[in-house]
């Protein structure tokens, strides 16, 4: 029984996603189709890419509120530079700008040893201001609308370029987090930075690169958005941060650091997208949609809290004095 509960908890994101899809499929006509899947994926990609970056940061015990602003700024840069550099080099510069913003965040958080919540609130304002500044608050237009149409194409009946990129990023991140030493070190830093530092893990560097990674992925998402819409706008992404944090947390990543997974984030992003789509299919008013997603977020976190606390309490049982072979002279 305990084991069943444990398994249910471990795969709760997958279960919730499956539930969402099943229930929606039953209630909403025409929901379970290839088109819905492909367009839903495409729709989830922007949030998903930023969420991928944020997952690493949250595991490392940090947070980044500036993702939405980086998203806008990177898109603008990549659009503005299109005439002089060409589409692809401009896109690369855009991603680089994202990484640079991340480096600024990371450098300040690590260098000044300040709380990332407040600092990224500050850089959020700064990056957004820069975006308004260089565009004079007007949206900027790319050179080739046809390229945008290609970007928006659905290939193999399922993937658009950005949704494919999102899935690839998530899988790579999953492998990196679970299979590499650097990935494990991210968990260590988020779980107990002092201990990690004293064990020879360069905690500051992990956090710094975490921010660069998150910034770069927000940049990728922003550049893709700009390519797909042929537009760079200083108001893009202003509502994204909340959705992204919600998706990552629903995916089981802990805000305090030390715990989380890339596949969980994938689940979280897909769950939120599936839910939104289902409700939009039914013309549910936006404010009720908010209530539903808010409830799911709170319920999952509360569930997580109660289970977690219970787990800890069980671990504290003094059993070890009796069961520990040391106390019994090395004999089991």
């Amino acid at each position: 029984m305990r084991q069943t509960i444990a398994i249910v908890l471990q795969y709760r994101v997958a279960i919730i996603l499956a539930l969402t899809l099943t229930v929606s499929g039953l209630i909403v006509p025409g929901y379970l189709s290839e088109t819905t899947l492909s367009l839903g994926l495409d729709r989830a990609a922007a949030i998903g890419l930023i969420a991928t970056g944020l997952t690493v940061l949250l595991i490392a015990g940090q947070i980044d509120l500036s993702g939405g602003a980086i998203f806008a700024l990177a898109g603008i840069v990549s659009t503005i530079l299109q005439p002089s550099l060409g589409i692809l080099p401009a896109a690369l510069v855009g991603v680089f700008v994202g990484g640079l913003c991340g480096a600024i965040n990371g450098g300040l958080v690590v260098g000044l040893k300040v709380n990332s919540l407040v600092l990224t609130l500050a850089t959020m304002l700064i990056f957004r201001a820069v975006a308004h500044w260089i565009t004079n608050s007007q949206p900027v237009t790319g050179t080739d609308i046809m390229f945008s149409l290609t970007m928006a194409q659905i290939y193999l009946d399922i993937f658009s370029i950005r949704s494919a990129l999102f899935i690839v990023c998530i899988i790579l991140l999953h492998l990196w987090l679970t299979r590499t030493i650097a990935g494990r070190n991210v968990f260590a830093v988020g779980s107990n930075a002092t201990a990690a530092e004293e064990s020879g893990v360069a905690a500051g560097r992990v956090v710094f690169f975490g921010f660069i990674f998150a910034g770069s992925l927000a940049g990728v998402a922003g550049v893709l958005q700009s390519l797909v819409t042929n537009t760079g706008s200083p108001v893009f992404g202003s509502e994204l941060t909340v959705a992204v944090i919600a998706a990552v947390v629903v995916g089981g990543t802990r805000l305090e650091g030390g715990r989380g997974s890339a596949l969980g984030t994938l689940g979280g992003v897909l769950t939120m997208a599936a839910l939104t789509m289902a409700m939009e299919f039914q013309s549910v008013p936006a404010y009720l949609q908010q209530v539903v997603s808010g409830l799911i977020l709170i319920l999952l976190v509360v569930l997580d809290r109660t289970v977690h606390t219970r787990g800890r309490a069980a671990g504290a049982i003094p059993l070890l004095v009796t069961q520990n072979p040391i106390t019994t002279g090395g004999k089991p």
Binding site: L26, I145, Y287
Partner: protein, 312 residues
């Protein structure tokens, strides 16, 4: 086992019933700017009511003023396989790929309220709604009249980067240039179509420019209201300078009557909403429609304030 099977039956029946329903009533996806907004709400309501009369089912999606969200909601519309899309664009370009995707799936699209860039034209059947650029021009003319063509003004603009703001400010400024007006724009500040923000920026404008403010152009009546409140705080005894707003709200009409405001431009959200759904209905019936269907705009001043109906 039995339970599972019967579930499938129920689901299948439901699906058949639902698809049958869809086959009869046409469904139109309406991607609106926001649910709760002084202008958008009555437009949404009017569109919905008219749709009910026409027997068209509306799939109502609110962007909450987030372009990003809107571009993604177009995906939902296409996936849902609706019969038509009415889009309230908040950006001149960003929706083009979404509209193209709709076209690929043979879903006709029209724009409501705000225009988009030229490149969008090939993907839409029509644009219904006010001409925001023209509104700017009309406002410029009205303010010129009130100020005898000279003096200095401040512009309280909507959200930076928003299509309506761009049109309304652009039309105003261009018009002044066009007629070689002696009216000087002291400053343009953004107050995001928000009364409170307008109140705050107006206080600062009044402190900063004082008597130099001889006229005010607000991108909508809510923000004009904010300026009036700020003026009354600062100079309770002095009359307000001529103020021109847009939208034609009820309280703007009252302000015109009391002399606090000089003019507003009536742009009826009800007309806006109705025209859009009517146009879509014609398209669904297979009729050809004009690519540009404006709604009437009326400048309201003291002279005609009692003969014109406020927009909302």
């Amino acid at each position: 086992m039995i339970g599972k099977k019967s579930m499938i039956y129920v689901a299948a029946t439901a699906a058949i019933l639902a698809s049958a329903g869809v086959a009869q009533a046409k469904t139109v996806c309406y991607v609106t700017a926001a649910d709760s907004h002084a202008y958008a709400t009555p437009a949404n309501v009017a569109l919905q009511e008219r749709a009910d009369e026409l027997g068209i089912e509306i799939l109502n999606l609110s962007q909450d003023f987030d372009v990003q969200k809107g571009t993604e909601q177009l995906n939902t519309c296409v996936a849902r396989g609706v019969d038509g899309i009415i889009l309230w664009p908040l950006d001149p370009q960003a929706y083009i790929p979404g509209l193209a995707r709709a076209q690929q799936s043979n879903i006709p699209s029209i724009l409501i309220n705000s225009p988009m860039a030229e490149q969008a034209n090939q993907f839409i059947k029509s644009f219904t709604g006010p001409d925001v650029y023209e509104e700017g021009e009309m406002a410029a003319d009205a303010l010129s009249t009130a100020m005898d063509g000279k003096g200095s003004v401040v512009i309280i603009a909507g959200q930076a980067g928003n299509g309506t703001t761009i049109g309304r400010v652009g039309g105003f400024v261009d018009r002044l240039k066009e007629v070689n007006s002696d009216i000087e724009v002291l400053d343009t500040v953004n107050a995001d179509f928000d009364q409170q923000k307008a109140l705050v920026v107006s206080r600062d404008l009044i402190t900063r420019f004082g008597d130099k403010i001889m006229g005010v152009y607000a991108n909508d009546d809510t923000m004009a209201r904010g300026f009036i409140d700020a003026w009354k705080e600062a100079n309770p005894s002095e009359p307000t300078p001529p103020i021109v707003g847009i939208n034609g709200q009820k309280d703007a009409f009252e302000s015109i009557r009391s002399g606090e405001m000089y003019a507003t431009i009536v742009q009826s959200p009800v007309e806006d909403g109705k025209l859009a759904i009517n146009t879509m209905a014609e398209i669904l019936d297979g009729k050809e429609v004009d690519s540009r269907l404006p709604i009437p705009l009326t400048v309201v001043t003291m002279e005609n304030v009692n003969s014109v109906e406020p927009a909302f």
